[in-house]
Amino acid sequence: MTFSDDRPTMIEFKEVHKYYGDYHALRGINGTIKAGEFFSLLGPSGCGKTTLLRTIAGFEDISSGVIMIDGKDMASVAANTRPTNMVFQSYAIFPHMTVEENVGFGLRKDPRSKEEKAKAVAESLDMVGLKGFGKRAAHALSGGQRQRVALARALILKPKVLLLDEPLSALDKKMREHMQVELIKLQRQVGITFILVTHDQEEALVMSDRIAVMFDGEIAQLADPETLYRRPATKKVADFIGTMNFVPADILSESGNSVDVDAKGLGRVTLDIAQAPVKSGDSPVVGLRPETLTLLYDDQKAPERETAGVIDEVIYFGDMTYYDVYLGGTDVEVRLSMRNVPGRPVLDVGTKVRVAWSPSALVLFR
């Protein structure tokens, strides 16, 4: 999961803007994507992630700014000559061709002999697990098979960058989870830079080396999955990725490397400056992930801090139970998750409880 940052840059965005008439779809995109990286563009629909992907492919011109691929400015390079290939959301399998003809489509102008091309097609199909499917008619394929054909068709051209536009959204849950793992393996095997567009935060976290979270045409945060999850830069990012409890807080004092806050229901706590990375103008709140909170049973002692509370809601999930708890006689409610292990009963609504938490797991948004 960790990604060494010393790899060379594959794609670089410099102040990329895109307008559709009056609509400002991309509002100054900056950033780099490294060679061989599995990179995801994550965001809600309409955030500009697909537009950004299509500007890389060359299907959309940019209004201003620069997109460099492998050190070359793409401004005057048409889609059909860019070193990128794309797997479309609808897969765009040519319905009037066989699987073989689809996969070999991009080789039409390849100077290699017919036999060599056929071999390349067979290898490519083999790679995506469709050995022997070459003669099948394209319209007789299942969703998962279509996706594999689309992958084989794009990868056969050995692009520098493979673009994937929500490739898993049309598949059912089981198939999707299966394909996530396959895509990761495939990417490791071919070593090509993958750029995945998705609105599914779980998918992005599972698959990516790094993720750019986008809202309203801007990159809100670009980081590896763990940083994104543990240290989201803004409340919006925190809210979009996983579940996060927000507790109103007052900032008491701030020094060079720490911040003192008074969080409602939790009390005074000193945070490392790394836990409060960005000032975005939000009214101050501290965020806690449900799994960083623990209910204390009987005479268990909290390793760091504890706060009294009352259970307001119990949601039973089988392996887990979620509790909504009012903190310390306030109206601040937090959700926490407990694993249902033997000997740990599910508690009732109204039960008075003690909640253990750790100051280092907090994030301050301000």
Partner: protein
């Protein structure tokens, strides 16, 4: 790939230009010419200045040198006790040659439209609701075939059947029902309506069928579930939902029938000229370009107004559904 608005517009315009130039030169320019001719002065075979509204005023002329405006402005003469108000209006209109042809064509076309749509609705309903899905295409195919067979032959065949001493006359006479030739085809307006209603019948089925197909079947079940009878469900759900199709069908039948040339030429030896025949007389036989153009423009206007009326009606129904 066209992406910026400017280049997309250029590509689109370039692509449409052959077709656009074709229709501009061969349709827009001729129609504009007719429009210009209609306000010119002219005689046989030529047009000249000055520009005038006279041709449109002349459309209201009545036989014997009068004008419909004067006729109505004078008011109803009081001396004749047999003259009712309706008769007075009728006398005026039937004497105004141009107006009468326009109104007669309109009435005939509307009658044909009404008959065609009424006859077609149950057929479309049957195919949509009572035919198995895999058999629907076959039924539609059967219904559309007559439309794709030569219109001239279909219309002419009616004269073999309905004409003087035709099949119908022979049948009736041999059965002893009548001993003279009935010659239904000489019956003017009813014959025209009958033949046109037959000729355009298949046109009406398809749009109604399409709109019936779109009716959500669960709505009907819901209606009956709520205790409504099948007939009430039809009136309250199916019929309103299929109105866009009914109106489309009306439009599709109305436009060609109002401009039909062949049937009025054949029926009653062409003594019942409709718009198309009248335009032919004015522009080709009399070579009265300005007057003929004014009449053509007036008929276009009439067709346009009725069509827009249908479209507005359709909008109302579509909005009503939302």
């Amino acid at each position: 790939m066209a992406a910026t608005p400017g280049s997309e517009a250029r590509t689109g315009l370039k692509l449409i230009s052959p077709t656009a130039i074709y229709v501009i030169l061969l349709l827009a320019v001729p129609l504009a010419t007719v429009l210009i001719y209609s306000v010119m002065t002219g005689g046989r075979g030529n047009v000249s200045f000055p520009v005038t509204g006279e041709n449109y005023y002349s459309l209201l002329n009545t036989k014997g040198g009068g004008n419909l405006i004067d006729y109505f402005a004078k008011g109803m003469p009081g001396e004749d006790p047999d003259l009712t108000f309706l008769k007075w209006i009728w006398n005026g209109l039937s004497n105004a040659v141009y107006v009468f042809v326009l109104l007669k064509s309109l009435m005939i076309a509307l009658a044909v439209t009404l008959i065609t749509v009424l006859l077609a609705y149950p057929v479309a309903y049957f195919v949509s609701f009572h035919v198995k899905p895999d058999r629907k295409s076959l039924w539609l195919f059967l219904i559309t075939i007559p439309f794709w067979t030569s219109y001239i032959i279909r219309v002419s065949l009616w004269f073999v059947i309905l004409g003087y001493d035709g099949l119908l006359d022979k049948l009736l006479m041999s059965l002893g029902i009548t001993n003279t030739q009935l010659n239904f085809s000489s019956y003017g307006v009813p014959a025209i309506i009958f033949i046109l209603a037959h000729a355009y019948a298949p046109f009406a089925v398809l749009p109604i069928f399409v709109s019936l197909e779109k009716v959500d079947r669960s709505l009907l079940e819901a209606g009956q579930d709520l205790g409504e009878s099948r007939w009430i469900t039809f009136l309250r759900v199916t019929l309103p939902l299929s109105m866009p199709g009914v109106i489309a069908a009306s439009l599709i039948v109305f436009i060609p029938t109002v401009g039909d040339y062949v049937t009025p030429r054949l029926v009653g030896d062409g003594k019942q000229p409709l718009i198309a025949n009248f335009i032919e007389t004015q522009l080709l036989k009399l070579q009265d370009f300005p007057q003929g153009s004014a009449f053509a423009v007036a008929s276009m206007l009439m067709v346009g107004i009725v069509s827009v009326g249908f479209v507005l009606l359709n909008r109302r129904f579509i909005r009503g559904q939302k």
